[in-house]
């Protein structure tokens, strides 16, 4: 056989090898989820996976991505582990092993998200995150989208709301507040505006301001400081359930529990079912937490299907936000019409909707500003009432009235 005869065959073969494989690309679209699946935050990663799986089931059952000929979404899970180093390594593995990912969600702990997005930004992979730290979207990155209000923004809108709540219940403005926080990125972000004048501006004193490195071995000296200074309320800001347990039990032991010193926390772990198992409902009664998302008024359908599918007693921020993230990716893919990460990022940037995925986020709007922060993202305050963490703020989402101890 002459060279001339072979050439067309070679050309055809190379065309087959080089050309994109539309049938594969359109039958399956991969989305990443990078979160702690091992280590002290593994439970939060697990809740994120449950939310993502439910969303993907719902999307695929409803016919997949229509603009891609009904392509099914496929979740690729990566373990961020228990340190920033491991999270970053996982991100490197994710982008190397799965070059056809169209986007990802993660990485729960703000410190991890900061590390992970350094990797994903380089390969222009859009990442949706529920992490709180202001730093995440203050670095000029173009492919990070923060669905939660930043820690700083949360603190700015929370403190006046808490003061109003206290004033309405007790008839007088609180005069002092204590802060106990761990030194991970989210609580530091949350407490920063308060420490830098926010509390003073509201005419309150800050007699106790302690920062610890998690995990705690014992909480006695910390809570002793609260006991000796008796603030009007305590902002208790750990991120690990083990620290929540130590501090709340110590509050009870020192006679400060059950609302004698009202406790307000930050983050979804305080409303997790696991804390109820570790502490019991008596010790949690009245404890509040400020979160970016929670099961709220008008979300009965998703809450019911989540409970039925997972066996969890209620839906937390980690699950509903990740459910919403999958819906954002679906919407973006529909708009982009192609399973390409850059086009998906463009579609997310251009998104401005109050329907579809917006239903799963407080404020009911999906639009990101030039930094990647969600416009109109508002905080949700959740309070333990009779063994269940219920949304009590904002009034538009609340399923119960907030209870502030009158003592």
């Amino acid at each position: 056989m002459g060279v001339v005869r072979i050439l067309p065959v070679l050309a055809m073969a190379s065309a087959v090898l080089i050309a994109p494989t539309p049938s594969v690309a359109q039958s399956e679209v991969k989305v990443g989820l990078i979160a702690p699946m091992s280590g002290p935050w593994a439970r939060q990663g697990d809740l994120m996976v449950k939310g993502a799986n439910l969303a993907i089931d719902d999307i695929n059952k409803a016919g997949g991505i229509k603009s891609l000929g009904g392509a099914k979404l496929k979740l690729m899970v990566f373990d961020a582990g228990d340190s920033v180093e491991k999270a970053k390594n996982a991100a490197q593995r994710m982008v190397a092993q799965e070059p056809d990912l169209i986007g990802a969600t993660g990485a729960w702990l703000s410190s991890f998200t900061l590390g992970v997005t350094e990797v994903t930004e380089r390969v222009e992979l859009p990442v949706l995150t529920l992490s709180y730290s202001d730093q995440i979207t203050a670095r000029g990155f173009k492919f990070v989208f923060q669905t939660s209000p930043t820690g700083g923004a949360q603190s700015v809108s929370t403190l006046p709301a808490l003061v109003r709540m206290a004033e309405a219940a007790t008839g007088k403005k609180p005069a002092s507040v204590a802060i106990i926080s761990d030194n991970t990125a989210a609580p530091m972000s949350f407490a920063k505006p308060m420490r830098e004048g926010g509390i003073e501006k509201l005419g309150m004193k800050l007699p106790v301001d302690e920062i610890f490195t998690p995990p705690l071995s014992d909480c006695t000296p910390l809570i002793q400081k609260v006991r000796s200074s008796r603030p009007d309320f305590l902002l208790l800001l750990p991120t690990a359930i083990s620290d929540d347990k130590l501090c709340l039990e110590k509050m009870h032991e020192f006679g400060l529990g059950r609302g004698r010193v009202p406790v307000i926390s930050n983050g979804a772990h305080i409303g997790a079912p696991d804390l109820l198992k570790n502490l019991g409902k008596d010790l949690l009664e009245g404890v509040m937490t400020v979160v970016a998302n929670w099961g709220a008024k008008g979300q009965d359908d998703i809450i019911k299907s989540f409970v039925a599918a997972t066996g969890e007693p209620w839906i937390t921020q980690d699950s509903i936000s990740t459910y919403g993230d999958m819906m954002i990716f679906k919407e973006a893919l529909e708009k982009a019409g192609v399973a390409d990460r850059r086009k998906v990022a463009e579609a997310i940037r251009a998104m401005d909707t109050t329907t579809g995925p917006a239903h799963y986020f407080p404020g009911n709007r999906i639009k990101f500003d030039e930094n990647g922060r969600r416009v109109g993202a508002d905080v949700v305050i959740v309070q333990w009432q009779n063994g269940v963490p219920l949304t009590v703020y904002p009034p538009t989402s609340a399923v119960a009235e907030p209870i502030w101890p009158k003592k």
């Binding site: 920062i211 610890f212 000796s228 359930i241 570790n278 019991g280």
Partner: protein, 313 residues
Amino acid sequence: MTDWQWFIIDILQAFAAGLLVGGTYGLMCVGLGIIFGVMRVVNFAHGDFMMLGMYAAYYLVTGFGVLAFLGPYVAPIVGALLAGPIVFAIGWVLHRFLIANVTGARVVSAEAEGHYAQIILTLGIALVLANGGLILFGSLPISVQTPLSRESWAIGEVLLNKARTVSFFIAVAVAILLYMFLTRTSLGKALRAAADNPIAAAYVGVDVDRAHRLAFGLGVGITAIAGGLIASSQSFQPYIGFDFVIVMYAGVVLGGMGSILGAFWGGLTIGLVQQMSTLVLPYQLQNTAIFVVFLLIIFFRPQGMFGRVWERT
């Protein structure tokens, strides 16, 4: 109450917390002290054996509820004590089939007395235990439920957490019993001889392998009791071992290599420094303070608080 009175109470409260936390640290360190301080086996999996002790106590008390009939006050204590024999058995088996290959008489002439192989092997065991725990027990943080952890005895204005106080006294009792076993019984003496000089011990008829196995089982079993006691106060998950292993090694070295009582004092000192440093230093520097004190003690007494002079750290 005046600010000064509160200040005195703050000091006393931190001292009490340090003492009570330190007691359990002390027991953990005693467990590691037998393995690392006496047998000179580097055991990176020690924290993970403690984790097994925590889960053993949890399943006996809360999970399967085998001890539930003893009530919420007694069951956690019995559960913690029973965790010891359970983990002792696991340690015995692991030593028999794995660790014996890199310890004892057969590695006396090996490079660095087999420490390199011990590090790699025990690190591997640590990873298997932690990840196996994750598969078996799940990632949910759990704890042994008892009212002891949220109640206290009051001495004036100073409050002593019941769970920690009970743990402290059990830790002291177990450490004393172990000390008596090692110094007063022939088995204990054989065990120390096998650890000090395996070849000479073999010449005088000591079954060195068996003695090492017993010492290893005892070491991990005692640390498991400490883990079982902590499980009432603190929630845990399969990765908790790593949080404690550094404290344990620091305690053993601080107390003095080869000294069981020294290991207990080392753990106690760490607890006291950890809690009392918060009175003068930012809370974030709690663990830094431990190592500053550690370095100071090692600087002035290289053999540790109770170590033999020739056994410098």
